[in-house]
Every structure is written in structure tokens, then in C-alpha cells.
């Protein structure tokens, strides 16, 4: 099964490496020249829980020619349309495409390029870090939940689940994956945007009662909009999950802090709090906290000269 990883940052490299390591044919796709050249010249370097170095194919999306059996999307949210546009030539009628991006609403983009029966949506709690071009840090364990958004795609999806499980990716076929996707979006929507804005770690932000109240209000907006869209969400359970996650991740700066503050890159805010504000507007549901935090992050992008 020829598998492409479309977007081979830290997470893409993890998935690519684990699949490749079990004998699957894997091609990494990425746009970052230094990273591509490093892997071409010296192989992909693995550090962390285990040390390894593997020869694995990597190229730019526009260079890929062989038709794909399976594609895992791991771009930044805002790069998704460009990536799908670039890889059109390698998508067959039966190429399965799994989206593991953070955030909400990616299926709307995918539907413009793929028949529904080939779209798999998923969410993962695996982590990884890019130490430098060509070197990825893999520690800890994780899991994946995924689903074919069209029931007729389930049988083929199960073959993919098997392949990924053989590679140790700990995948579950989930008959209703949307609640998990929204739950993860709640984690990101309460930690990423706030810590980027406040320039602090998750623990620092969650330390005050005022911050906890902001977090609860944001979750409440996510849940109200999600439920209106038919996603089965339990607000109390999500609040509990977010606060537990905040304790476990207290020392960390979330990825949006890394993007905005550390690296002055555009953020994924439009696909997290921004997506909820946008869907809320369509549905006539007020989401002032999501709207304001989205606007403040965009304003900060502009202040930092990124936009």
C-alpha cells in the first residue's frame, strides 16, 4: 500500500517512520528545503525513546508522481487547500485520505477534492518534536481514533487501521469520531490561543480563577455550537478533560505559542476558536469569547508583522 505523508513535520515524520519501519512503502511530502535535503542526504534521524536512522523517500508535493493508495494529511491547517491542490495528480478514485490535522472543519475542504467514501477523519494524541532539519524527537506513546465519514468506506478503513496498528500507532476505528475531534479542539481552543496571547505556559495561564472562568466559557461556546451541529458532546466531561490535560501539560508552551511568539508564524486560530465563531454565526449562536480571542490573535499576528 503506497502511503504518502502529506506534511512531514514532527508528527508526519513519526507516522511515516513507524509505517516505514514495518515494511510499508512510505513517501514523505514536505515544502521545507532544508528538511528535505537533510533527509535525502543523511536519512531521517530518530532520537528520544530510541535512536535510529532510516533511509526514507522525501520530496515536494509537486514532485510526487506515483498514484497513492493511502495519504495521511499532516499539514498546518491553513496549508491544507494548497497541499490538496498539489497532490491532485496522485489521488486515484480509491485513494483513502486520512486527515489528522488539529482543528475543525477540514472535511469541508477535503470534500472539494475527494469523494466522501474516501475521506477518513481522525484525531491523535501522539506527540513529536522536530529538533532540526531531518531529526525528529519521539517520546511517549499515543493513540489515534478515526472514522470513514461515509459508512460505505468502513471496510477499507479497517484495512488501514490494521496496517497502522501493525506499525504500533494504536488506532481505533471509531463509529463516531467527531466528539473526540471536538474535544481535542476544546483543548487547543482553551490552551493554544490563550497561552499565545498571554505569552505563558499552560500551567501559568490555568493558575488563576479568572483564567479558569475564561476556559469554561470558551468550552461552553464550543459545546453549544458543536451540539447545534449534531456532535454529541458532554460539557462537564470536556471541562474535566481539559483541566486534567492542563495539569499534565502545565510546563509546556502550546504549539500556537511556538508559532506566534517564538517563531512569528501565522497561527491556526481560524480553525480552532475562529471555526467555532464562524459556525456560530452561521447558526445564529453568540460566541463572543471565541470571536474576541480570534480577533486578538489576528491583531497580534499583525502587530508582530507576520500578516
Amino acid at each position: 500500500m503506497l502511503t504518502y505523508i502529506a506534511g512531514s513535520g514532527a508528527m508526519g515524520c513519526r507516522f511515516g517512520y513507524q509505517l516505514h519501519n514495518k515494511g510499508n512503502e512510505v513517501i514523505l511530502l514536505d515544502m521545507w528545503e532544508d528538511h528535505i535535503n537533510a533527509i535525502k542526504e543523511n536519512g531521517l534521524n530518530i532520537v528520544g525513546d530510541k535512536e535510529d536512522n532510516v533511509k526514507i523517500e522525501i520530496m515536494k508535493p509537486s514532485e510526487a508522481e506515483r498514484k497513492a493508495d493511502f495519504i495521511i494529511l499532516f499539514t498546518k491547517a491553513m496549508q491544507l487547500p494548497t497541499m490538496l491542490e498539489s497532490i491532485k495528480p496522485i489521488i486515484k478514485e480509491d485513494t483513502k485520505v486520512l486527515c489528522l490535522l488539529n482543528g475543525l472543519g477540514h472535511e469541508d475542504v477535503m470534500k472539494q477534492y475527494l469523494p466522501e467514501k474516501n475521506i477518513l477523519l481522525g484525531v491523535t494524541v501522539w506527540t513529536a518534536g522536530l529538533k532540526k532539519p531531518g531529526e525528529v524527537l519521539l517520546t511517549g506513546t499515543g493513540s489515534v481514533n478515526l472514522q470513514s465519514i461515509d459508512k460505505s468506506g468502513k471496510e477499507e478503513a479497517l484495512e488501514i487501521v490494521d496496517m497502522m496498528n501493525e506499525a504500533g500507532l494504536n488506532v481505533t476505528y471509531d463509529e463516531d469520531v467527531l466528539p473526540s475531534i471536538w474535544r481535542k479542539a476544546c483543548v487547543n481552543g482553551t490552551m493554544n490561543s490563550t497561552c499565545a496571547l498571554q505569552d505563558c505556559t499552560i500551567g501559568e495561564f490555568f493558575a488563576s480563577e479568572e483564567a479558569k472562568s475564561v476556559v469554561k466559557t470558551i468550552i461552553s461556546e464550543f459545546v453549544t455550537v458543536g451540539k447545534a451541529l449534531g456532535v454529541k458532546l458532554n460539557e462537564e466531561e470536556i471541562v474535566d478533560y481539559v483541566f486534567k490535560t492542563s495539569v499534565a501539560a502545565a510546563e509546556h508552551y502550546p504549539s500556537m505559542h511556538q508559532d506566534l511568539i517564538q517563531n512569528h508564524r501565522l497561527t491556526e486560530i481560524d480553525f480552532i476558536n475562529g471555526a467555532v465563531a464562524r459556525k456560530g454565526k452561521e447558526l445564529g449562536i453568540d460566541t463572543p469569547y471565541c470571536q474576541m480571542i480570534t480577533d486578538l490573535i489576528h491583531s497580534k499576528e499583525q502587530i508582530l508583522g507576520i500578516k
Copy 2:
């Protein structure tokens, strides 16, 4: 007319200096030892539009013994109750007390210490800067609007207006000063809190469409709450005033940025956006933007280790 300036930072020094300069007996009150000692030893130094040095009395509030005819309050908002408590012994039955603090709701505090007929509320657009202990920078011009909150106090208030006008303070007796106080609070509530949060100048914050939309929503919450309290406010006129002010002040960091980011001091947020959120809650009016921005500023105070 023995006049005390209760809180002799930059603005207190300006008013104290101008009154003293016209032959009025003025005593400055302050808590900052270095500032007090500098003025005692070397006089109050004036720089800027004119250079001057005046011998003017200064002491701690607890050291003041002579009964006051007139007191101008110029503390930080959160220091007001402590100041009023300290100067109780110098307040006579007919001591007029003028509040020129930024923010909303100070009359509620003053009423605990003073009969209504002696309370003057005001707002000023004068500015000043403290260069170092004992040295104040005075540039530009300004004005004051003030009112006795009890109509029976008007005649005596007019005498004070005359005295202040002789000192060049450009004072108008205003039959309805609350709209001006709320309008200034709208300026502070859209510039101070946001620029402190975003760590930027007024011009940098106001540059994006997203920021403008945040500003308009904040003003709308101020106006809705103010109107419900009976204050005559014209939302369109205030929006216009705030945007014009933002252009004139584009290069500046507002005072809350100086407090929070530059000097790691507690902010006056509870008397600006926080006051609107609190009054809104009492009235059953939703003020999500004011509430969230108040919470984020408090959380930032905690992150910076100020609280």
C-alpha cells in the same frame, strides 16, 4: 483656600504646581518616599514647555493635620479607599473633594467618607509625566469638566472652578459630567486594556480590522450599561471620538501598558472594563468582552507575579 492634592504623581504635581503658582496654599500628599524627599530637599522641578523649580509642601497622607478646604483626589483607582481612610482627619464638614481619577464608580467609594453635597466629580484631558522623583514633565494643554453630584453644592463648586481657572486649568462647570467621564472610560477601556494585553502601542493595536471590531464591541458594552444606569451616551459619537483619539495617540503606550508590562504593577482594570462587567452583572446585561478582557488582564498580572 487650603488645598491638598491627594496623590501627587505626575498629574497631581501638575495641578498642585499650577494652583501653587497662582498663590494658592497647596500641600501635596503622596506615599512615595523618594519623591517626597526629593521635593522636600530640592523643590518640585518642572521641565517641558517651561522650566521652573518651586518650594511646595509635601508629606504623607497620615502626616497631614491642618483641615482642608479643598482636596483633589489623584491616586490610582485601587488606592482611593486607603487614601480616603488616611485623610479622614483633615476632612471638615464643608471640605470639597474633587475626584479626577480615571475609571468608573469612584463616587460609590467617596460616598462612604463624604456627604454628597461635598463630592465633585470630574474628568480631565490634561497630561503629565514623572521624569524622576521630584521632577515632572509638563507639555501641551488640557481642560477639566466637573460637577457637584448634589445640586446644592453647585455655588461652592463654582468658586473652586474660578480658583482653578485662575491657575490656568481650563475648567468648565458641567451640568451633566457623567457622559464625559464615561466617554473617557471608553477611551481607556479600548486602549489601555488591549495594548497592555497585546504589548503594543495604540496605533499598532488599532491597525487591523479585527482590532477595530473588538474596540467597537467594547464601546457598545460600555454604552449599553451606561445608558441602563441613566448616563446620556451617544454610541456613534463615542466611537468617532475613540478612533480620532487613537490616531492622535497612535505612537503612545497607554498607562496600563506602563503599569503592567513596563513596571509590573497592578492595573486599574477593575475600574474600567471590570466596572462595566460588574455593573452589567448587577443589571442583567451581558458584557462578555469587558468580562473576558478583565479576566485576561488579571491572569496576566498573576503570570507576571504581581498579584
